[in-house]
Subunit: 419 residues, 2 copies
């Protein structure tokens, strides 16, 4: 079933409201193998709504879903537009009126005329019950296509979509002999283009899986969309592709789906019964803030020292003052000593540290903005690595925190961090 989604509302166009309805609908429809082929957002204007509906009816879409503009106030004009478009008239729907009265009774309020009018529905429409609010969903059929209009209030839309629309779609178009599985493979520490060179176009390798490269500040997400004739085949196909990707770029993969790297290192620390402490300069507490975003992190995260000033580095982390003078606070040696110092003072198994120049100012000759050193020490090794990032201050902090957590992950798994 090919579906065209139309969401109505000025607040979406002017960016005051995120279109979370479109995301919810897209996800739910994908689950039942229906395909949103396009989404259109238009404002609360008669012409725009009628145009969008007409365009959708003339597209390849088999079904058109509308959200928004069914409320009781003057700017809610969707129902009026649909009565005009389908050349129909209004009738009173007794069941809807009872629902409206019941809702107002529960709230202990009088039913207003505007709300009573919500029981006036287009004559040619099938009424879809709204168990969460006063505006019912409306189901139209014309030229072998279906149009469904739902309120824009998210929980009302969700209720009608889930309880009324989706069961009807499944009935009309029962799931094909095909199953689609989506999985995200999460990588970090490798640019999109380098990753692409390693993995190539996975579709050439496998006819059943599509892959998209989705970069963000923490790395590149690989989204696999795999087909199979049933769930077991789809999962087998996906495993086959995932194994190939892991063979080609395994060391850069830190997790799957919605995981964060802090969740992954948290699990590894718990599994290995290890504790950690952090010394932060340039990241200003961000590495620790991310580590402690994980519920249960108090079992492995012991403490952090955010030593912004050189004095604090010397005082708390026993960094050698002469080293700071000789190499500068942003240096391999100081990062190493910071990691060593925080580990020693905290008595943890591992210490990690970051020192760098986040910008936009603070660079010196030979030490540009984006230069970062990350140190890592445990009872056996004490090392540091240089990184170079390229972004705004905030972006550089995010990337530095990600690199530190990735360096920790690789260390815990014994994977070399070679670039």
């Amino acid at each position: 079933m090919k579906i065209h989604l139309i969401t109505i509302g000025d607040e979406i166009l002017i960016g005051q409201t995120l279109n979370t309805n479109a995301a919810f609908i897209g996800e739910k429809l994908t689950d039942i193998q229906a395909k949103v082929i396009s989404t259109t957002v238009v404002g609360d204007s008669r012409e725009a709504i009628i145009n969008a509906v007409d365009n959708a009816f003339n597209s390849e879409a088999e079904m058109i879903l509308l959200t928004g503009g069914l409320g009781p106030t003057h700017d809610d004009i969707t129902k009026k537009c649909l009565v005009e478009y389908f050349e129909t008239t209004y009738v009173k729907d007794e069941e809807t009126l009872q629902n409206i009265k019941a809702i107002f009774a529960r709230r202990g309020r009088e039913v207003t005329q505007a709300n009573q009018d919500q029981a006036l529905v287009p004559e040619c429409a099938t009424i879809l019950k709204n168990s969460e609010g006063t505006a019912p969903g409306l189901w139209f059929e014309k030229n072998n296509k279906i149009l469904v209009s739902m309120p824009g209030v998210p929980f009302e839309m969700k209720s009608i979509l889930t309880n009324e629309v989706i069961p009807r779609i499944i009935e009309i178009r029962p799931p094909k002999n095909e199953c689609i599985k989506i999985k995200n493979i999460l990588t970090t520490g490798i640019p999109e283009s380098t990753l692409f060179e390693r993995i190539g176009d996975i579709e050439e390798f496998s006819g059943h899986t599509k892959m998209a490269f989705l970069p963000n500040q923490y790395g590149v997400k690989l989204r696999l969309t795999t087909k199979g004739k049933d769930e077991s085949e789809a999962l087998n196909n996906q495993t086959e592709v995932e194994q190939r990707i892991r063979a080609l770029a395994g060391r850069y993969i830190f997790g799957t789906n919605d995981e964060n790297i802090e969740d992954v290192v948290g699990r590894l620390l718990i599994d290995r019964d290890l504790t950690i402490s952090v010394a932060e300069s340039c990241t200003g507490g961000l590495i620790s803030a991310r580590l402690t975003d994980v519920s249960g992190s108090s079992s492995y995260f012991e403490r952090a020292m955010v030593t912004y000033s050189n004095g604090a580095k010397v005082e708390h982390l026993q960094v050698d003052e002469d080293f700071i003078h000789q190499y500068g606070a942003v240096s391999l040696e100081v990062a190493r000593q910071m990691a060593e110092g925080v580990r020693a003072i905290s008595g943890t198994d591992i210490g990690i540290a970051a020192s760098g120049i986040m910008g936009p100012t603070g660079d010196t000759p030979g030490k540009p903005v984006g230069l970062v050193y990350i140190g890592l020490c445990d009872e056996k090794i004490c090392t540091a690595k240089e990184f170079r990032f390229n972004g705004t201050r905030k972006r550089n902090k995010e990337r530095t925190s990600q690199a530190a957590l990735e360096m920790l992950r690789r260390h815990l798994l014994g994977i070399p961090y070679d670039e």
Copy 2:
């Protein structure tokens, strides 16, 4: 200027990614009186992209903005589609190539072929510099209409939109005879409904200003949209409304427009020539990470101790072990002592501290999830306050960090923190 926005990406259609780009673009264009009349989302398919572009060219839109599909991998096909649509060919853009090489050089990496190919641009396009990444923006003109293609990576799109596209739109279509001014008044520490009770519907007070209440985890943003016949009248009208709002809820207002509270307290600390240190337990470094997001923060931020364990609290912050036993680590007294301790050890003018239960576990009888104590000490006072939040672990951390920074702001300005 009527603008049609096309965002490209399967991940948006299937609901994996929220269309935050559309919201950002809508907001920025509204600010300069351009009007997004419609947004279309299509998948990564040649036919869908070309169709959407063609429909937009045949609509009333004067300008078409595209985001997405400009990356270096096989699923990035926007540039190819545009070369086909505009019947043009590729040329190498030397400036783009230098930008790509410079980015890779800063990262200390080899330029891959896929990235070199990003310097191949449509011959008929004007190139818009991408200062955050490798894919430049592309500006086309045809039949008196403009089409601009930008990358989908949000921070790259934002950079090109803000620095390249918006100044050009303003030049082509200078603001009309009616002036619309948008201003955000940022509040924190007061719920939306209480704020509404204080301020009421500002439209009843003034015909020229619309106001929206936009709550987020850091507070409630009041968005004022004010009209005037020219800029000066619009600004006067807006000032009148703003003064009224400040009279009714002034103490809760920490800033305006895109400011963060960390920017505001940073300025206040610089103005007063004061330094600060932080002791964090439940926030795990987030307060410090936010303070150090501000460029120049090293002039007032000295250090932070993220003392997750009780041992670290006693050791570094001289918190009385007996107090921890008697009152618990999450208590008014311990928060006060943490603030006092970090101030003493750092030698800063001010010390702030947070201790609380962020959830989802960790609650004890009488100490529910969301209970937080924030301490603040300077040379004259040493105080702590209790807060109760109600959200996920991450949300509770964000709210705690906001409350700590607001407590600091009020302290610096001498405004009582009475609720």
